[in-house]
């Protein structure tokens, strides 16, 4: 097996007494697409900053591309591409100029940066916006520009902190498509998200984090297999009757989860579970059978929804 590009062991980041990252251990193999899935405040961005060699860990060990970020920050960063949660494009510069100045930071010659900038504008579907002001771009375009910027040095590892948060579905799909291509080209991706569909789409393997700790680890499919049933039946009885109805549903399927607005029944077959519900004389206002998702895994592991 090739040497991992990232090895984190008992990684901790403390802000005063508060542990934002509280002892996490994982490895990322070259070419892999690795996800961190977790709710707000889980410690995803903090972890990403430590991997990005800009934030010093409080304890534990960390190796990026075989180097310790405490000693070799600049050398590590020269081989990373970073898409931060908050865009930090220079709004005083035009679109293409943002790529030019950024490329220079890696010590690349001017001509090479210029050629690469044009390729990346093409890749990000922003060629016709090259001379536009950054502020005039839509959210999705800014995000694509930030990703293009992160690729200017042909990084070995691309770090993406919530690449699509705040984008509409169409913009998200364009971005996913671009990230797919990078994966095919062998770039190692590390991404955080609190969208389970994004994690399922983009990550080969992921860790579910909550309150700075790892709750589970595996491929999206194996996590679902391990922590959830094949299907889920969602029934709604109206917020008043939810709790009482739950008592009558006991025993249907493997497990049941009562949320404020609906009840989730975990079963191998959602249709059979629904038949049983009706047989017991209960009449839900609406019912829906769907496949299990990472959201269900998360709910089981933490007792909370991913997006509150």
């Amino acid at each position: 097996m090739p040497a991992p590009v990232i090895v984190a062991t008992d990684l901790v980041k403390k802000y005063k007494d508060f542990a934002a990252v509280d002892g996490i251990t994982f490895e990322v193999a070259p070419g892999e697409s690795f996800g961190l899935l977790g709710p707000n405040g889980a410690g995803k961005s903090t972890t990403m900053r430590m991997i990005g060699a800009v934030s010093t860990r409080s304890s534990g060990s960390l190796s990026i591309l075989g180097l310790d970020p405490n000693e070799h920050g600049p050398a590590i960063r020269s081989q990373l591409g970073v898409v931060p949660q908050q865009d930090n494009l220079d709004t005083e510069l035009r679109v293409r100029d943002n790529l030019l100045v950024y490329g220079r930071y890696f010590g690349l010659p001017r001509a090479q940066v210029a050629a690469r900038a044009d390729e990346l504008l093409e890749f990000a579907q922003l060629s016709d916006r090259a001379k536009a002001k950054v502020d005039d771009l839509s959210g999705g375009m800014k995000r694509r520009l930030t990703i293009a910027r992160a690729l200017i040095n042909e990084p070995r590892v691309l770090l993406l902190d919530e690449p699509t948060t705040g984008l509409d579905p169409q913009a998200r799909h364009i971005l996913w498509d671009r990230l797919y291509r990078l994966r095919e080209q062998g770039t190692t991706l590390v991404l955080t998200t609190h969208y389970m569909d994004e994690a399922e789409q983009l990550a080969d393997r992921l860790i579910v984090v909550d309150k700075g700790r790892i709750m589970a680890e595996g491929s999206p499919a194996s996590l679902i297999r391990e922590h959830s049933s094949r299907e889920v039946l969602e029934v709604r009885f109206g917020s008043e009757r939810n709790a009482t109805a739950a008592a009558d549903l006991a025993g249907i399927g493997d497990r049941l989860e009562v949320l404020p607005d609906r009840i989730l029944l975990y079963a191998h077959s959602g249709e059979e579970a629904l038949a049983e519900v009706t047989r017991r004389g209960l009449e839900p206002i609406t019912s829906l059978v769907r496949r299990s998702s990472l959201e269900d895994v998360f709910l089981k592991l933490t007792g909370r929804s991913l997006i509150e």
Binding site: V54, P74, A75, S78, Q79, N88, E92, R104, G107, N153
Partner: protein, 266 residues
């Protein structure tokens, strides 16, 4: 690993930050040219021609030296200080907070030191342009009797440099609660008034003169005067001006590197 050995040296990286800032400045070329040329014209005219006529036959406080010659080096130093202050305050907080380009720079191989070094170099270039234009206008007004006069450019730039501790302070500001306006009113404005710029420090009551001795602007103005029509003071004092200005600048610069580094390492 080839990527590691191919690292350009540290000062080369700092230059990329300077390059970036220059490129960003291009958007304001018009305004910058207008203020860089307009300010010295306006001030030298107002003080040297306008105010000077009120002062009996344009005689300055130094025998044989006109009021215009007396005031011009101080105005040049003030202009350098104002340019530098703009970057030490807004330039720093822009990069750290309002449009956090320093955070973006720091995710590349650039270190906090290189970012600050690059910014200081950029400020140096801005001050050089401003003071050079000022000097040329001074020449045009016939306000430079001595052949050493061109060194007043250096004096002005040292004056601006000496305000670098303000940059270190700006880098500690988390929330903008009008600190810069307060700084402007309680520190910068009194300094420009009581630093022997438009009248000699000795005109002030003794209990106010210490403001001038502490003020980098006084030291820069006096230094500039030595070059423009001096010497009018013992050489040790001239050396003291230089040492004082350099010391403040270097201390502020290093403090700024440290605060920016701490702030970027979240």
């Amino acid at each position: 690993m080839s990527a590691v050995t191919a690292e350009p040296r540290s000062h080369a990286r700092a230059w990329f930050v300077t390059e970036h800032k220059i490129r960003a400045m291009r958007g304001y070329t018009g305004t910058i040219i207008a203020t860089t040329i307009g300010t010295p014209l306006l001030y030298l005219f107002a003080f040297g021609v306008g105010l000077a006529t009120l002062i009996t036959s344009n005689v300055g406080p130094v025998p044989g030296i006109s009021y215009l010659e007396f005031v011009a080096p101080a105005l040049l130093a003030t202009a350098a200080v104002l340019v530098a202050m703009e970057e030490y305050t807004f330039g720093i907080l822009l990069g750290l907070k309002w449009n956090p380009i320093f955070v973006g720079m720091n995710s590349t191989p650039l270190t906090a030191r290189q970012i600050v070094d690059g910014l200081m170099l950029f400020i140096g270039i801005r001050m050089l342009i401003t003071t050079t234009v000022y000097f040329v206008v001074m020449l045009a007004f016939g306000a430079v009797p001595s052949g050493w006069g061109i060194l007043t450019i250096v004096a002005g730039m040292l004056g601006g440099f000496a305000f670098a501790p303000v940059a270190a302070y700006s880098a500690t500001i988390q929330e903008d609660r009008g600190q810069f306006a307060i700084l402007q009113r309680t520190v910068i404005l009194p300094l420009t008034l009581f630093s022997g710029t438009v009248f000699p420090l000795t005109q002030l009551p003794a209990f106010l003169q210490w403001i001038g001795w502490l003020s980098p602007l006084w030291h820069a103005s006096e230094l500039g005067r030595q070059f423009v029509y001096g010497p009018t003071e013992p050489i040790w004092l001239t050396v003291a001006h230089v040492v004082y200005l350099l010391a403040l600048g270097v201390i502020g610069w290093q403090l700024c590197v440290r605060t920016v580094a701490r702030r970027l390492n979240k």
